[in-house]
């Protein structure tokens, strides 16, 4: 085979991959539009305030795992304690932090050390101490030996009293109506919905982006954060909403994941065998319930439930995204028998192949496409006009997908400042040149680390924030 024929084959292969990927994205985005419209209609006819304030609404144990989160944690805990919801408790698990996370929390919330007991459903690392607050009777703080995020969540699960458990991240600030929105959806189909996740906004400093749990001040002007905003919008509105509609929701995100407690008990909680715990648990729920032929749903809502912290430097962003890539690979590989397997319905026939197409082989194609395009242009096989047109086409298609996600978000809840939205629209065409290479690098790095068997979290430093009052 000549070099020319090889190059030609690669060009055709990459083009076919792109066409398939974009056709899938387009189909998912159209479904996303229909689903978002349906949710908006539901919200108009549901009485959110009455449901959220009713003692009849399902009770929720919110579990927050924290490791070296001295600055972010007080903001997150305060916003949780101010949730507008009738029956909930907040369990904060300090996972053996080596900084002053616990001391700051004790001071900020006037905690006192007490002894308590556990349900003992899942084995965890040793509990060192319990703390309660006489000012906040809903709050329990557990101080335990370090065992990773999954272990910390399991410690929280062992102390959860309520029907649903909501796992959240320490770098979040929550909207006051976060639980009302989530549980509203669950009360529509409580017999089948076993898991739920929802859209989270992103900001450099969540405590400034969501003031008092009610007023949003977004999107951020920093380009790196703005591109992450677009990324999140696309991930949720263009993908997950459609996954949810067709019952192959493959990732209830760690920042906000609601599960039925009895199911978590049955499954033995979150697994410690993976770098991150959220995707694996979602896969395990699907496998277990599909194997047992039990009716169930895992859903994703377009509702904003809070703001999470977006890495404010390229280095931190790469560290975060390479970890995400690694955990996707770890999980997909562990559950590969479900892929293309009719027994697992939409999860096996659509969801897992989609992950394979869009996440797992993506780094290979991204690298090959870039190399092929440049090699083709340099050798004259691809003329410069083609090169420009291909680049322009990809840029504009990506921009259209981004604009679609932004439109869905704005129709759902017009919280973005107008100026910020215009800035997002203008940043879209540059995404391919500015943001995508960073993502491609992170994916390649993640894939490489996965192949080397790296399972470490590689925690990076949090952004600088204003201190909690």
């Amino acid at each position: 085979m000549t070099a020319e024929a090889l190059l030609q084959g690669l060009v055709v292969g990459c083009a076919a991959y792109l066409v398939l990927l974009y056709a899938t994205y387009l189909a998912l985005m159209l479904v996303g539009f229909v689903e978002s419209r349906r949710t908006r209609r539901e919200l108009r006819i549901d009485d959110l305030a009455v449901l959220g304030g009713s003692r009849f609404s399902p009770s929720v144990s919110v579990v927050l795992a924290a490791y070296n989160e001295a600055v972010a944690l007080p903001h997150a805990v305060r916003s949780l304690l101010e949730l507008d919801y009738a029956e909930f408790e907040v369990i904060v698990v300090n996972d053996g932090s080596t900084d002053d996370t616990l001391e700051r929390l004790v001071e900020a919330l006037e905690l006192v050390s007490v002894e308590a007991t556990s349900r003992g459903v899942v084995a965890t690392e040793r509990i060192a101490a319990y703390y309660r607050s006489f000012r906040h009777p809903r709050l329990l703080v557990i101080d335990k030996a370090n065992g990773g995020k999954a272990d910390a969540l399991n410690a929280g699960l062992n102390h959860s009293r309520f029907r649903y458990v909501c796992g959240v991240d320490a770098d979040m600030v929550f909207a006051r109506d976060a639980l009302s929105r989530a549980m509203r959806a669950i009360t529509r189909d409580p017999a089948r919905i076993v898991g739920l996740t929802s859209f989270v906004e992103i900001a450099e400093d969540p405590s400034r982006a969501l003031v008092g749990g009610v007023e949003y001040d977004i999107p951020e002007s920093k380009p790196l954060i703005a591109y992450q905003t677009l990324d999140y919008l696309r991930a949720f509105y263009n993908n997950r909403i459609a996954w949810s509609r067709f019952d192959f929701m493959l990732c209830a995100i760690g920042a906000f994941q609601v599960w039925r407690r009895d199911l978590l008990d049955e499954l033995g909680g979150w697994s410690r065998d993976y770098t991150c715990e959220d995707i694996e648990l979602t896969f395990r729920v699907h496998r277990t319930l599909l194997d047992a032929k039990r009716p169930y749903r895992v859903v994703c809502l377009p509702d904003r439930v809070g703001v999470t912290e977006g890495p404010d430097t390229v280095r931190k962003l790469v560290a975060q995204r390479e970890r995400w890539q690694r955990v996707i690979l770890e999980t997909w590989w562990a559950y590969r028998h479900m892929s293309f397997n009719r027994r697992y319905g939409a999860v096996g026939l659509v969801g897992m192949p989609f992950y394979l197409l869009s996440e797992i082989v993506a780094p290979v194609f991204e690298l090959t496409a870039i190399a092929t395009l440049f090699a083709g242009a340099a050798t004259g096989l691809v003329d410069w006009w083609h090169f420009v047109f291909v680049t322009a086409a990809i840029t504009l298609v990506n921009s259209a997908f981004n604009a679609g996600a932004l439109l869905m978000s704005d129709l759902n809840a017009p919280v973005y400042r107008l100026g910020g939205m215009l800035r997002l629209l203008m940043l879209m065409p540059l995404e391919l040149l500015v943001y995508r290479p960073i993502m491609a690098w992170a994916r390649v790095k993640g894939t490489w680390r996965f192949l080397r068997g790296d399972r470490a979290w590689h925690k990076f430093e949090r952004n600088v924030r204003v201190e909690a009052a």
């Binding site: 009485d47 006192v112 007490v114 556990s118 060192a128 529509r188 629209l425």
Partner: protein, 328 residues
């Protein structure tokens, strides 16, 4: 069509789509403002679709509205049923038939009982007697909700709910006990003491709480043995109930520190931690006297927690004392 033309076409399509969607983003913002303004002027939200029409039947005559909503409750579409419930709840402030409609919706079981119950609970005390027929409903889900709703009506609860403590469904028995907490009758106390030995943990847990809520310290001898229950839920319920009695419970709980059962010892120590005796003896050595017995029963963490509270000069209930007094 050659490759270059195809690519140009793709660019044009994608670019057009991007511009169109971007315009859509801006138009949606203007549109949302216009809708809000119109709504403010008209005094009602514009009617867009079936769900909305059912929710906002203003303008229609009362009888037509009632018929529309009754039909809506029986609809095959969940959105229409939910909209009917929300509309009925809104109209219930003015019309008694709307409350009847909600009770009927609960009895029909067509829509999530939680949603209907939340509205009926908000309307208390007006639903009142309309709820009692639901106590005999064949569905335990409906009986469960009906019993809980009666918690807002102590007189009605005292009359009708004791019978439900013999219901075959454990959650109905548990809900009946929860509701009887407000009734404060001898019959309610008798039921709760009887159910402290129920085979279902959920029922035992509620029985502990109800017994203490009705009669306080006199029930402590019945509840205290549940500190060694097989179920964590019952142990926790018993502990919380006993702690709720306050310091008077110490007389009943202290002897349990000498029990042969380590679970019972631990439960007793936790109660004594939460009602105060541990903090009261902060100046004493942990190996001596009552504090020594509590610490031995409660274990290392209870001891360390007490020592830390003493160091910081703060009690388990938030009381503070001078730090000098706190030093061991």
């Amino acid at each position: 069509m050659d490759g270059r033309t195809t690519l140009a076409l793709i660019c044009a399509l994608a670019g057009g789509a991007w511009l169109l969607l971007a315009a859509g983003v801006l138009a949606s913002r203007i549109g949302s403002r216009t809708r809000t303004d119109l709504a403010a002027i008209a005094g009602e939200w514009p009617l867009y679709d079936e769900g909305d029409r059912t929710r906002s039947p203003t303008g229609a005559r009362e009888s037509e509205t009632r018929m529309l909503l009754e039909r809506g409750l029986r609809s095959d579409e969940q959105d229409v049923r939910v909209a009917s419930i929300t509309a009925l709840a809104g109209l219930a402030d003015r019309y008694e038939w709307a409350i009847d409609g909600l009770v009927e919706a609960l009895a029909s079981g067509l829509e999530s009982p939680v949603r209907v119950a939340a509205q009926l609970d908000r309307l208390a005390p007006r639903p009142g007697r309309r709820l009692t027929p639901l106590l005999g409903h064949p569905s335990d889900a409906v009986r469960f909700i009906a019993v809980r709703l009666l918690a807002r009506y102590p007189t009605l609860a005292g009359l009708h709910v004791p019978d439900l403590t013999r219901d075959p469904a454990p959650r109905v028995r548990a809900a009946a006990l929860e509701t009887l907490r407000a009734a404060h009758s001898a019959e309610a106390l008798r039921c709760s003491l009887q159910l402290i030995g129920d085979p279902q943990p959920l029922v035992r847990a509620h029985a502990c709480r109800t017994a203490v809520a009705i009669a306080g310290p006199v029930t402590a001898p019945y509840v205290a043995p549940r500190l060694a229950d097989d179920s964590w839920w019952v142990r926790e319920a018993a502990r919380e109930a006993l702690v709720g009695i306050g310091r008077d419970v110490a007389l009943v709980v202290e002897p349990l520190l000498e029990s042969d059962d380590p679970v019972l010892q631990m439960g007793a120590a936790l109660v004594l931690q939460d009602i105060g005796p541990v903090d009261d003896q902060r100046g004493e050595r942990s190996s001596d006297g009552e504090l020594g017995r509590i610490v031995a029963a409660g274990g290392r963490r209870l001891h360390e927690a007490a020592a830390e509270r003493a160091r910081r000069g703060v009690g388990v209930d938030g009381r503070t004392w001078p730090l000098a007094e706190a030093s061991p």
